[in-house]
Structure formats: structure tokens, C-alpha cells
Symmetry: C2
Subunit: 335 residues, 2 copies
């Protein structure tokens, strides 16, 4: 089986579990924002998860929903939106007039992230902005889990699917980042199209079982997921058969057995969205490869306490890296 650098970047090892910043670091900074991505990159969460949607003028932008998300989007009057216009009815320039740096504390969604910094002047980034950031030399260790969001209204439209994938892949190729990206989705038809157009970029398969609750205030992905009824225990096999290199189950849908089966198939297992200490510890016990979290610092902290690593030995910011070894304590201070 062909090996991909981007897959290996997400693969764990003995005493090594990866940390993936979910929408940057949603618990700390506005989701899917450049300042959030920069924060994650600068704090040792070099693996970034984020969402890409196409605007009316066919520009890939980084935002989670197919509509402007009322609890996070504010208009020129500084107020959170009361209606949610669809992204594809707006141009990129129109979308970038909204502010996305705060959360509406009156909403159920906003209440989930009480520590997020509240900023003004933050707008929806283009995909190209993040690709440009990551292509800078200081971010050579960064890898991208690029989630393609398929519009449920256009789920059956093969031409739309083809166009969406084509535009996104072109942007990735333009910045020379093909070996630093995973194409990631709940929509397996979209992932098949990705594999057809870009066999050189690995595909990452998201799954969520319909019987488990959606995260509060999130647009559900269940409508565009395949129907796993009767095959729940075969999901890792289905991912592998579909050509997937990563399996990305919801934190409530995974078991030690399913992680083990995925491993036998050579899949890399990255679980989302793992935010509580209990869930983080459970995922470590299951031996997953990577933990996708809104609180990368919280995951690092638990890994650190358990004597585990999250960065490669060659990474300058991992202890034991060469530079560190040259630092010796003064004897007087070691008393």
C-alpha cells in the first residue's frame, strides 16, 4: 500500500498520540479563523482540522455551515444574525463583511465555549490564506485535515461535486501542499470523487452513527453520511474498502475493538471532537492515533501528565530534540 506523508503525520506510535486542533482551537479562539490557526500552530498543535465551503462566486472559504451561523456571525450593527443566509447566495467579498470573532452567549452553541476570546475585526478566511500561511518555512511541520462540506441540497448533483473537488484541489496544488493535506469528509461520494481526481492526496473518512446525539448547536452531518444500518461493526472495513487512509469516528461511536480493527486494516484513527478529560483519557486508553479537540492544550496536558508525547522526536519543540540536549543545568542549581 502506498505511503503518504500526510497520513503518517497523523499516525501515532508507542508513547505518541497526535493532537489535532479542531477548527483551529475553538475552545480558546474563534473557530475557523486565521488567529485560531496561528495559535494552534504556535502551541504545538501542528495538525489542523477545518471546514471548506464554496461561495456564490466559487471561492473556497473556511467556515463550518452552508449558511452564516447565527451564533457566531455579526452584521455591521454588531448584532448576531437573526436569519442565516446561505453561503452560496453570497460572494466571498459579501461574506467577509461579517464579523466572526465572538460567540452569542444567549445561544446553546455559544454556551459550550465560555473561555473563547472575544475579538473584533475577525472575518471568514479564504482557504488560500491558510494554505499560504502553512506554506511558510516556519510551518513545515503543519499538516491539514481539510474537510469538504457538501451541500445537502446538492447531494445528488455529480457535476457540482466534481466542480467543488476540482476547485479545492487546484488551490492545494497551486500552493504546492499536496503532500501536507488530507481530504476529509462525511460525504463518501465526495471522497470517491476526491480519490478519482487526486489519487496522490489521501482521503480521510468521517463517520457518525445516527443513534448518538449531535453536538449541541451543530449542523448535523448525518443527512449526508452513508447508511451504516446493520454494518456498524464493519465501519473500519467499509472505510478501508472505499480507499480511505484515515478513519475519523465521533468520540461516542468508537470502541477499543473498532480501533483495533482499523489498525489491522492499516487505517489511522483520528477521533473527534474530544474535549472532556474523561473522553481524552478514554481515547488514550483505546490507543487511537490522533485526538481532534477544541482544547489542544487540555489534551497536551493529559498526555504530558501520562508521560506521552504528541510531537515527533525530530520536532524542535519536543523534549529530547538536539538543541535541548545541549542545555545543561548548572550543578549549583541541581542541589
Amino acid at each position: 500500500m502506498r505511503s503518504f506523508a500526510a497520513v503518517e503525520a497523523f499516525r501515532g506510535a508507542e508513547n505518541l498520540i497526535r493532537v489535532v486542533g479542531h477548527r483551529g482551537a475553538r475552545g480558546i479562539l474563534p473557530e475557523n479563523s486565521m488567529i485560531g490557526f496561528e495559535f494552534a500552530l504556535e502551541t504545538g498543535a501542528h495538525l489542523l482540522e477545518f471546514d471548506v465551503v464554496l461561495t456564490g462566486d466559487e471561492i473556497p472559504v473556511i467556515t463550518h455551515n452552508h449558511h452564516l451561523h447565527a451564533p457566531t456571525f455579526r452584521g455591521a450593527d454588531g448584532q448576531f444574525l437573526t436569519s442565516e443566509p446561505r453561503i452560496r447566495t453570497l460572494t466571498c467579498a459579501e461574506i467577509q463583511r461579517y464579523e466572526i470573532g465572538r460567540l452569542d452567549g444567549a445561544s446553546a452553541y455559544g454556551q459550550r465555549f465560555p473561555d473563547q476570546a472575544q475579538l473584533d475585526g475577525v472575518t471568514v478566511p479564504r482557504l488560500a490564506e491558510l494554505l499560504n500561511l502553512v506554506s511558510q518555512p516556519q510551518h513545515s511541520a503543519a499538516y491539514l485535515m481539510l474537510e469538504l462540506k457538501s451541500d445537502p441540497d446538492l447531494a445528488g448533483d455529480a457535476a457540482h461535486r466534481q466542480r467543488l473537488v476540482d476547485i479545492i484541489i487546484q488551490e492545494v496544488r497551486t500552493t504546492g501542499l499536496t503532500n501536507r493535506v488530507l481530504l476529509h469528509s462525511f460525504d463518501w461520494n465526495l471522497l470517491a470523487e476526491c480519490q478519482r481526481q487526486a489519487p496522490d492526496i489521501p482521503a480521510s473518512y468521517l463517520t457518525q452513527l445516527p443513534e448518538n446525539a449531535d453536538d449541541v448547536g451543530e449542523a448535523s452531518s448525518k443527512a449526508i453520511s452513508p447508511d451504516f444500518t446493520g454494518q456498524e461493526s464493519r465501519i473500519p472495513d467499509l472505510v478501508s474498502e472505499a480507499g480511505g487512509r484515515l478513519w475519523c469516528p465521533h468520540v461516542n461511536d468508537v470502541s477499543k475493538q473498532s480501533v483495533q480493527r482499523a489498525r489491522e486494516l492499516g487505517l489511522c484513527v483520528a477521533v473527534w471532537t474530544v474535549n472532556t478529560s474523561a473522553d481524552i483519557n478514554r481515547m488514550i486508553d483505546f490507543g487511537v492515533d490522533a485526538i481532534v479537540s477544541d482544547y489542544p492544550g487540555r489534551v497536551q496536558r493529559i498526555l504530558s501528565d501520562r508521560g506521552l508525547y504528541w510531537l515527533d522526536a525530530g520536532d524542535a519543540s519536543r523534549p529530547g530534540a538536539k538543541e535541548k540536549d545541549q542545555k545543561k543545568m548548572p550543578l549549583a542549581a541541581q542541589q
Copy 2:
């Protein structure tokens, strides 16, 4: 009474309460680290609180205790310290060989900050590094609450006090930041010396009542505080009589009445360390000028939810700033 820009920067107004990043943003990033200060500055916490101690070779460095703090200092072996050598027995170069980017989760202190990012390669900064950062044009809105830590062993040593204040003030003057700094301490003798040497830099008086508990795992400041016995209700008056411009009480020691009295005296009230939602809301209700917190984002979030501001109208990152007003929503999106 003479007006100081640095005092006004900490003063609240109608619908405006300031947010001060405590040791940078200790809840999110390693305390008293450059990366923590940068994070605070970039996320709208332009007012920074931090601690300055003198090394054996008389260099002011930014760290909280007079000894290396075992739950946050690691040696060349990557392990947290088991003994705590005193800062003044070490040179600056020796101190900077230790890592301060992680917290020991086995310690009571470490358990207080479960979300702090765990970093390697982070070391104790010199005061000069922070002064240089803040003197860059993009940080012209930043103001510093510079806490001078007096060594309890040398509390009676006037020559030591004089030397400590002299060295720190020289560094502030060298970077041209005299109008952006508050000299802040629990040690009122030290603050008297500050006022003697630098009447052009305002003094900020910290207080903590002996009857309330210390924060878990913190070196107590009670030993070097004045004795307020029998004068608890006159503390704002005592601060004013001592020439203080700010009064900085512990969050457990303040009341609506004492805030009001401080205001009558023209003092600015900045309360520390305000981390829980309940405490943040209580301080807002008391009408304090500024909230010093390990979680500046959490404070911003509560202020935002309550329709309050934390930045001046002229600040580019406050809504209503000129640049923002030019952004108009497309009509189609306002439906």
C-alpha cells in the same frame, strides 16, 4: 492631582471594564512567558500583569517566586524540580537553562490550570524582552502592571530595596516606556521607594487580608504586606494616603462599599485574580475598573454577553472603530 496615562489605561467608564492578563494568560499558556504575553496582546488583553525578580547577577527577570517554582520548572532531564534553588543564587544565564513551558499535573498548583498548553523550549524572559516587545508600534495600546517582588529575607534591607527599584526603573526608562508602566507591589516600603525614585511613574498598591486563604500552591504575599488589623475598612484610604493611584485587592477581600470608597478617593480599582464566572460577574456588579484574570477570554465573554466593552472606542479592535463603520452588509444578506 496629576493625571497619568498608565492609570487612565486601567480606569473603567460607563459600560467599560478593563481586562488585565494575569501573568500573560496563565489559564491558557505558560505563566510569565513571552508566548503568553504575545497571546494576551493579540487577543485584546492589552493590559499585562507580571512579576519581576532580580537574579544573582542583578538582571530583572520575569518570574513569580524568589525560588525556582518546582511545579513549573524543569531541568535538562525534562523532569520537574524536586528542590527550589533561590533565584538570587543563580545568574540569569543559569536560570534561562530551565524550561518553564509545562505544569506538573501531580502538583496541587498544576491541577488548577488543566487547559494550559504544554510547550517545550520556553524559558524565563528578561524584563527587557517584554519591554522591547511592548515598545513595538503595533503594541502602542499595551500597558504594563509591573509587579516588583521583594525578597522576604531582605525586607528590612533599605540598600537592597533601593538597588532593586533603581535597576528596574532604569530598564523602563531605557526603553522609553515610563508612561506605559505601573509599579505594582504588596510591599508598601518598596512602593515608597518607587515613588521617591520615580515620581513620574504611578504606584499600584496590592493588598491581601491575612484572614482569607492563599491561592493553592502560591507563595504567600502576606509576610511582606502591611498589617491592616483594625483598619480593614480604611484600606482604600491607606492606599491613597500612601500616594497610590491604583488599589489592587484580592477578589475575596473587596466589597461594593470598598470599591465605592476607592472611587471617591480617585483610585482606580483592579481586582485579582478573578477566574470563575461567579467572581467575574460579582466584580462587574461591584463596578470595579479592571479585572485581572488568568482567563482574559472568559472575562471578555461575560462582558460581551452583558453588552459591556473592555477596549477604548479608539482602539481598532473595538466595534464602532472607524474602520469597521465602513463595512456595510449586502442587502441580500440582511433578509
